[in-house]
């Protein structure tokens, strides 16, 4: 309780302080301090709630009224606590990072707004997961969307930013409308009814109504989470926002979609028919594969990361979807495993994606560009950033012993249990999902070889990259914090998984007693299908690292370090133009998946007027077909414009016409209101 009050107070103080002190170091400091203390308190609150107390039970705060007479209610249970930890962890890193990162904005853009809205966003995220009735949930949801909108709009003099912000706000409000409808149906019209009451109400609804509610919830939460095909705002909004805001949005804000889906589908509705899980699983698999495929073709570092968010949301949904399928067949142990995998990947993705965005922000800070083709050689100039980015890349590529591996392994385990499903036509979905998940992981690894290699290795491709310098202390500290979190989460699944088991225990007919996993240092899945121990793998890796110098010592290798050009190939000098580019790296995959990308190529060669053996310049341009923008959103926009044109005719500008509207409205009202 004290922690809760501390958290709210700190955020509010941070927001007000940022508005008061405004531009300059004082404003930055106050905003960051408020956000850091607030998220620290939130993190502590989540951890104390989730840690088993003396009785072995989780601390659950009873429902409490937030402000008298407003009907706002908060409650903290396991699921809330888990997401509160994510908000706290990422919030802490983002607050630290923002202190130095926002110096670049001083004098150019409004620091007041940036600092205040960051605190408001963190506060609303923390309240979001604790909301205990639909009214609170919706109000805070809107506060979260709007504060994120302001944050995206920080660089408000760029057309691209404004466009991205408009897309974001339009999409999120489409989702919001669905959520309002969903909660109205679910609560029987009384938005102030507590979630406990709604749970009872939901059980009594007809199956058709439950289906409608589920579909509305899926649509509403998917727009926030960025599930294909509702993902289009992600690659627009994330790159234009300040990097720490991108980290927060990608790491936490889109996770609220996952939280909402779990809260409604698993907690309030309980369970549903098999096809609910099927839809979630399918949407997840499609998002995962398409997300990573589009990411491969991106050469803007932050857009690339944004597409990876789509991919990882997909992976999370694969876990949750498989959990829902098992749940509806009554295979509760496997269901728990699926949900645990999804949740585990949620926190993991939050950690490594925030880390990667912060790393990209440092690169942006140093080179003033986010185009990968203009980077290179940064590992020598920014070693800490490069190392942290490498850890993040390895984690997102699901390499052991980092956290991405642990959670994807659990999701695989859950999917591999699919043969337990009695119906073969459903069971066959599982191996397909396994295949798609495997493809995704492989492509993600390829993509991050590109991202890391082109950005940090080789020689600088532009003057700015050559002059880059390491990020300031607070930014480095934030990145190291998240890198440590990635390692820790990866090495300790034997602690995380039981904790997550407790988080979801009791929700949606999952057994009250959390499924016991055999937990020594190794991790067993309940069906005994496989076992692994990231801890041992980590220890093994350390041992291997130690072995290399030992072997070298044994073989009496020459220890002298030679400095030379890498891949010199006998040339006299190397220029950046000889380097491998990101486009070239992705070209093989572009060919392989040409059916999907439908690339348009354009090659222009200028010859010397005297002889065509002297080429003056070669211009190569290649673009991929944006399917969703072109075939889904353009018709939608066209329809909206058409309707708007029709409606616009009402606005004739003639005074008499408006008076006629009033008269007609009055007459119709009188005619219809007669009793």
């Amino acid at each position: 309780m004290t922690l809760l009050i501390l958290m709210v107070t700190a955020y509010v103080a941070g927001a007000v302080g940022a508005l008061l002190f405004g531009e300059g170091a004082a404003g930055r400091g106050v905003a960051s301090f408020g956000a850091a203390v607030g998220s620290g308190a939130g993190l502590a609150l989540g951890l104390t709630a989730i840690a088993p107390g003396e009785s072995g039970q989780m601390l659950i705060l009873a429902p409490m009224r937030l402000l008298p007479l407003t009907g706002m209610m908060l409650r903290l249970d396991g699921l809330s606590a888990f997401f509160l930890i994510i908000v706290g962890l990422i919030g802490l890193a983002v607050a630290l990072y923002g202190f130095s990162y926002s110096t670049a904005y001083e004098g150019r853009y409004s620091l007041r707004m940036l600092g205040a809205m960051l605190n408001v966003l963190l506060l609303s995220l923390s309240m979001q997961v604790m909301a205990d009735n639909a009214l609170t949930f919706l109000i805070v949801w809107e506060a979260m969307s709007l504060s994120a909108y302001w944050l995206v709009l920080t660089e408000n003099d760029k057309g691209e930013t404004v466009r991205a912000a408009v897309w974001y706000i339009a999409m999120t409000h489409a989702g919001f409308a669905a959520l309002v409808a969903m909660f109205l149906l679910l609560s029987g019209g009384d938005l102030t009814a507590s979630f406990a009451g709604m749970r009872e109400n939901a059980a009594a609804l007809s199956p058709a109504m439950r289906n409608v509610i589920f579909l509305l919830a899926l649509f509403g939460f998917s727009t926030k989470a960025g599930v294909v095909p509702l993902h289009v705002w992600l690659p627009m909004a994330h790159p234009v926002a300040p990097s720490h805001v991108s980290a927060l949005m990608s790491g936490v804000v889109i996770k609220m979609g996952i939280y909402g889906l779990l809260r409604v589908a698993l907690d309030l509705l309980g369970s549903g028919p098999v096809w609910w899980g099927g839809i979630v699983l399918g949407a997840g698999a499609v998002s995962a594969v398409l997300g990573v495929l589009y990411a491969l073709m991106e050469h803007d570092l932050k857009r690339l990361l944004a597409y990876h968010s789509v991919e990882n949301i997909g992976i999370i949904l694969i876990g949750i979807g498989s959990g829902m399928i098992f749940q509806s067949y009554g295979l509760m142990a496997l269901a728990s495993l699926g949900f645990i995998g999804g949740l585990y990947h949620t926190v993991n993705h939050a950690a490594f994606k925030a880390l990667l965005f912060l790393g990209a922000g440092s690169v942006l800070h140093a080179t003033h560009t986010s185009n990968m083709e203009k980077m290179g050689g940064l590992i020598k100039r920014m070693p800490v950033t490069a190392f942290c980015f490498l850890i993040g890349s390895a984690a997102i590529s699901a390499l052991p012993p980092l956290n991405g591996f642990a959670s994807e392994w659990i999701i695989f385990q859950s999917l591999l249990g699919g043969f337990n499903i009695p119906k073969p036509e459903v069971a066959v979905m599982m191996p397909i999902a396994v295949g798609m998940l495997a493809l995704t992981s492989g492509l993600a690894a390829a993509c991050f070889v590109k991202a890391f290699g082109i950005t940090f290795l080789a020689i600088p491709r532009s003057g700015e990259a050559g002059k880059a310098s390491e990020a300031p202390l607070s930014m480095r500290a934030a990145m190291v914090l998240l890198a440590l979190a990635c390692v820790a989460l990866g090495l300790t699944p034997f602690i995380v998984v039981p904790a997550l088991g407790q988080v979801i225990a009791g929700l949606g007919h999952l057994s009250d007693i959390p499924v016991r996993f055999t937990l020594g240092l190794s991790l067993d899945s309940p069906n005994g299908f496989g076992r692994m121990s990231p801890t041992l793998i980590g220890a093994g890796l350390l041992l291997l690292l130690a072995l290399v110098p030992m072997v070298m010592l044994l073989l009496r290798v020459n220890w002298k370090v030679r400095v030379g050009e890498s891949w010199g190939c006998g040339r006299l000098g190397q220029t950046p133009r000889m380097e491998y580019t990101a486009t070239a790296f992705a070209e093989p995959l572009r060919r392989v998946f040409a059916e999907l990308y439908r690339p348009t190529r354009e090659l222009t060669i200028d010859f010397h007027p005297e002889s065509k053996y002297f080429v003056q310049s070669i211009e190569y341009r290649s673009e991929i077909t944006p399917w969703f923008e072109k075939y889904l959103y353009e018709p939608c926009l066209w329809l909206v414009r058409l309707l708007a044109t029709v409606v616009r005719r009402l606005q004739s500008g003639s005074l008499n016409a408006y008076l006629v509207y009033v008269t007609i409205a009055l007459v119709i009202l009188l005619l219809t209101a007669r009793i």
Partner: protein, 221 residues
């Protein structure tokens, strides 16, 4: 029903009909002078109707309201309107959106509509004045129709005032006078609204050199 009530019923229907008739008179006249004159007569009959209702309904407060109504709507507002007309408006309502013959038919239809709408109210009412209620509602519709179908700002103002008269008549017929304080508030509202409109008319006139509201659509872009 005793004689007293019968007389009351007949008198209220008569006065309401007269008030409505002056409202409809607006529709067949073109010059602004005629509009103002019709409004003046209508207001006079309206204040007489208030006196009558006050007498039969035993509510002396209505006498005060009738006096105020007389002062405001028979003298002050018509006087202002005439002054306004001298300044800006020698323009006649040459071409209304709806021509005069059609306007009269529409007015007839509107009164029928008023009867249709108020039927349930009249059926359950036990007031002696119930027969006049549809006429008052009809007057409200006619006032609205004047505003909608005429294109000079001044004629629209008169239409608004007629509409207001209809509301006052309806209130008096249904309730025998709403509380004095409310009635005075309404008067003040009318006066303020009228003054604001007057200022706007000056502006329209000086901007467009005409008081045809058609010109206002130029402001759209």
């Amino acid at each position: 029903m005793n004689d007293h009530d019968t007389l009351f019923a007949q008198l209220s229907t008569l006065s309401a009909s007269l008030v409505l008739l002056f409202g409809i008179a607006l529709l067949w006249r073109r010059s602004l002078g005629a509009y103002i004159k019709a409004f003046r007569w209508q207001s006079l009959v309206l204040s007489l109707a208030f006196v009558m209702i006050g007498y039969f309904g035993h509510d002396p407060e209505l006498y005060i309201i009738a006096a105020a109504l007389l002062a405001l709507k028979v003298f002050i507002i018509p006087w202002y309107l005439t002054r306004l007309q001298m300044r800006v408006g020698t323009e006649r309502e040459v071409q209304p959106y709806v021509n005069i013959a059609t306007s009269l038919i529409v007015a007839g239809l509107l009164v029928m509509l008023a009867y249709a709408i108020t039927r349930p109210l009249v059926m359950v009412s036990k007031l002696p004045t119930r027969g006049a209620i549809p006429l008052a509602v009809g007057l409200i519709f006619v006032g609205l129709f004047v505003i909608v179908s005429r294109r000079k700002a001044l004629t629209q103002i008169v239409g608004f005032l007629v509409l207001e008269n209809g509301i006052a008549l309806l209130a008096a017929l249904c309730t025998y006078g709403i509380p004095l304080i409310v009635e005075l508030g309404v008067f003040l509202d009318v006066l303020m609204g009228f003054l604001v409109m007057q200022i706007i008319v000056y502006h329209i006139s000086s901007t467009f050199e005409s008081i045809d509201v058609e010109q206002l659509s130029q402001l759209k872009h």
